[in-house]
Amino acid sequence: MHQGIPLHYFLIVSTLMFFIGIFGFLTRRNLITILMSIELILNSVNINFVVFNRYLFPHKLQGHFFSMIVIAIAAAEAAVAIAIIINIYRNFRSIEVGKVDEMKH
């Protein structure tokens, strides 16, 4: 299925996606959108692992399993982050990073 597509094309897509995620992480001011930028970054790294596995080491499944584990970690991280965000909302009535500037409640 992947014949005729150079390895570089996948790497360009994942690089651009990674840096778009970084841009969102730096410019967003809302905790949930920051979390979404982190999901973009993790997803682009997954593409890299899978593509290296398929193109360079097709006799092993290391990249495949690594990205499966990254997906599991991403789900865990999203669950804990959202629990923390809801707790912050309960204490500050806001999830803007500029308004959450005290480490007490």
Partner: protein, 168 residues
């Protein structure tokens, strides 16, 4: 040729929707664009013949995480609310940093010569994935599998404790 056309469609979707995820001021739309990015990524996995990974991507990422994010958006922000962005100068500075980083990375990717292994490919069928996942010999992934299961239990308990209301 067909592969290339399909790849360009999927990667175009990924890039356009990730830019829109990052730039739109409505948070709920941003979550839906993120869903499209994750679906197109699953399409790339299908193109690479990793069916199981694409299914995991669809169920866990697109089905689980995005729903969780949408729920938390509905709980924490008003539907007509516009998300605040950084000011003008932080925007320009981060765009500069991001373009610089992307340029360096792309230059490195293009100047590096990747050497593919010549050994024959093993199929990524359900059977081989399952036997790799529970084998503890060479190329076995039993340890990370168990560590992930313990981590998921810890995360479940932790999320409940963090998010539950304090009784005073």
């Amino acid at each position: 040729m067909n592969n290339l056309v399909m790849f360009f469609i999927l990667s175009g979707l990924i890039l356009v929707f990730s830019v829109m995820t990052v730039l739109t001021r409505r948070i709920l739309r941003s979550a839906v664009f993120l869903l499209f990015v994750l679906l197109a990524t699953a399409g790339l996995y299908f193109m690479l013949d990793y069916m199981f990974l694409a299914a995991v991507q669809l169920t866990v990422y697109a089905g689980g995480i995005v729903v969780l994010i949408i729920f938390s958006i509905l709980l924490t922000s008003h539907i007509s609310e516009r998300a605040a962005m950084a000011g003008k100068w932080p925007m320009i500075a981060s765009a500069f940093v991001v373009l610089l980083g992307a340029g360096v990375t792309l230059y490195t990717i293009y100047s590096y010569v990747f050497k593919a292994s010549a050994e024959p490919a093993i199929p990524s069928t359900m059977k081989s994935i399952g036997s790799h996942l529970i084998s503890y010999g060479e190329d076995g992934y039993a340890l990370p599998f168990e560590v992930i299961s313990v981590l998921l239990l810890a995360v479940m308990i932790g999320a409940i404790i963090v998010a539950k209301k304090e009784v005073k």
